[in-house]
Symmetry: C2
Subunit: 414 residues, 2 copies
């Protein structure tokens, strides 16, 4: 545990959320207060910005605008999907990072992201240590997928879950408006973990939700699916079905793989999408009913106007706690949440080892999935409800959100 004096840098990584900037606000505002932190930087496009020596000078920003970051969606300083190669295979990125850290005397590194980003954090931290360079590295969790290990939930999940539940309740009213048969298939993000799709159950709990929910945790069976949809249509005249983009059959094949070969993104994950449309087309063919496929797409991860107040607060505090922990000498940790109680809702902030958080996906527990695989239990509802409480959004100007407007002045290259 070392009390270091030097600059601090924050990087944002992976897919944005409604509250990743709230964590940035927490890191920036807290870091600016710390006497041991001599300068505060924001890496332009995460680790890429460090490699390129491109960082914004946060000391030059107005505090008022940094405060507005709390309600500004997405990644204000730019995100990145960049996977460091294994050190043994190619040490050049690691060496370059160390060179930049030394040059600017960066002693605090905060990285805000999901599994892959925690892995990046961990690798960098290990390398610095092996080279004898003191730098406290703290991960700040973030992902709408809620699949990070070592924390009760992740910032970003509550707001995305609130979007999914609210929008499904609204769609429930819209999709049942005519007296003609109709099937609506809604596709929710989530590659391997069905947490976000599970939020559909919150609408079901209000009696205004979908009829069927399909998570990636349960092997997808086409025959069962079409039969279930047919049964609902026969009984109610219409059906609303929510599917995760990541549903796959017992052999691990995704829905779009029946039709097209999949391209891969730079982390090696399959690029999904189109699942709802494909299923809707097949329902139309089989049942001869009107269908509509709706993909929540990027909307579910950037709808800051529907952010949960608890989520915004926790995202901000995760950033604050990261800085405080680092300044006190912690390193190689990720900020996590421990749930003390659900009713009343109470959490404790804690530090989790990066190694533990990195690259382990936390899926929806089997005991929270209904025996028929098509919905969630009350335990899930009790778990999720506190996370979507309260409203907290940007002030309105002309009826539209007033998002943060940073100057984004790049630090002069040394």
């Amino acid at each position: 545990m070392k009390n270091l004096v030097g600059a601090a840098i924050l990087g944002q990584s992976g897919g944005p959320t409604s509250v990743i900037n709230a964590s940035a606000a927490g890191v920036f505002i807290e870091a600016l207060k710390q006497p041991n932190i001599t300068a505060v930087y924001g890496a332009k496009h995460g680790v890429k910005g460090i490699l390129n020596e491109e960082f914004y000078d946060i000391n030059k920003e107005d505090l008022k605008e940094l405060e507005l970051l709390k309600n500004t969606p997405s990644s204000m300083i730019g995100s990145v999907r960049y996977k460091l190669k294994p050190l043994k295979k190619d040490p050049s990125d690691y060496q370059r990072l160390l060179e930049v850290f030394r040059k600017y005397n960066i002693r605090y590194f905060f990285y805000n992201g999901g599994n892959d980003s925690m892995d990046t954090c961990n690798k960098i931290s290990k390398f610095f240590k092996s080279e004898g360079y003191d730098c406290n590295v703290i991960g700040v969790p973030k992902t709408i997928d809620n699949d990070l290990f070592g924390t009760d939930h992740t910032p970003g999940y509550g707001s995305a879950a609130k979007y999914v539940a609210t929008t499904l309740m609204e769609l429930y009213h819209d999709a049942t408006v005519y007296d003609t048969p109709m099937v609506t298939v809604v596709e929710v993000m989530g590659r391997n973990a069905g947490w976000l799709t599970a939020a559909a159950q919150l609408a079901v709990a209000k009696g205004q939700g979908p009829d069927l929910i399909y998570l990636p945790e349960v092997a997808f069976d086409y025959d069962e699916f079409y039969a279930s949809v047919a049964e609902v249509v026969k009984r109610k005249g219409k059906a609303i079905v929510v599917v995760s983009e990541g549903i796959k059959d017992k052999d691990g094949k995704y829905v779009p793989e029946h039709y097209t070969s999949l391209s891969k993104d730079s982390f090696g994950h399959a690029q999904l999408g189109g699942t709802a449309q494909i299923l809707a087309d097949h329902i139309k063919e089989q049942l001869n009913v009107k269908v509509r496929a709706i993909e929540f797409s990027l909307l579910q991860r950037c709808a800051a106007h529907l952010a949960s107040k608890n989520d915004v607060k926790e995202a901000y505090m995760a950033g604050v706690k990261a800085v405080r922990a680092a300044v006190k000498g912690s390193t190689d940790k990720m900020v996590g949440f421990e749930r003390v109680s659900s009713n009343p809702y109470k959490i404790k902030y804690k530090l989790v080892s990066l190694a533990k958080a990195a690259n382990t996906e936390k899926v929806v527990p089997a005991e929270w999935i209904l025996p028929n695989g098509k919905g969630l239990t009350q335990e899930y509802v009790d778990y999720a409800l506190p996370l979507i409480q309260g409203d907290d959004k940007a002030p309105l100007v002309d009826g539209l959100p007033r998002f943060a407007n940073l100057k984004k002045i790049l630090v002069e290259k040394k």
Copy 2:
């Protein structure tokens, strides 16, 4: 002008909006107060409900739930797309309607809808008159398309426009988050009138909007389109393009017509959709960049959580004014808005002849479209901004909207 004593019925027709139920609340709550109105009915699925003698007894509903209708999206009593045949061709529907109206002594008929619904209203009113049956018929305007003639704007437009502008601002932040080239194509509803697509300009006015906007009012030129997108990508690295689902080339061909033959809905309109995806696929092919197609789909017409306060208020008042006008003896009219001033925003309620409102589509005036056809002028922004002002949404319970919950007790058939 006759002061009639009898029952009143409201029908909801056409595509739902966030505030069509606010107009229902206005009609119901005001009608319940009127001594000349002996019973208040809500037709189940519009004119179909009248033909089938299926109406809800609004006198049996709780006032508190009727108040909650103001913030409940979609059509609570069920909507319909049903086009009456020309009287000369087939009088059976008209005769059946008259029979039902006589049987229940319905003397006030309110119909909430767009162009087609105003036409339905007008036809029924004319027929009743020719048969000597006294019934005051008042149309209540409604459409997210804002294409109704005889009114400054329509209830439903402001909230949908607010959804489009807010969501595009959020997408602006999300879609520009990586430093890799990317084109996002967003599809907005609007068959022939580009009013809703035009709302993208409100995001542009905030410096957080799309790069290109394509309205159905301007003949779509594929070469120009791909060249414009390429130019933006070259200049900025990414492009956000908003297209109306109704864009068509100089020969009137819609984008999906290049690929599939179109089916027709029961009003004879082409069923659109998929435009954004088709264009995105072609951009990918031509420019070799990552693309994403986003269709706002039903979300743009039922996102009551983003409703404009002005819109909710005006929708409600349109219902109230309809009842008051009918009770005073007006018939064959639609409630319309006349703009007194934009700053400060002030409107006057007026009555427009149904014949004038029916079947005439009001498109975006040519002088409000930029000379290059890819955006809107400040005049449009000045026109639209007052319509999206203020928030007004359902109270939250468990962090989710508490929508109206009607008993929906059907009137016993006579």
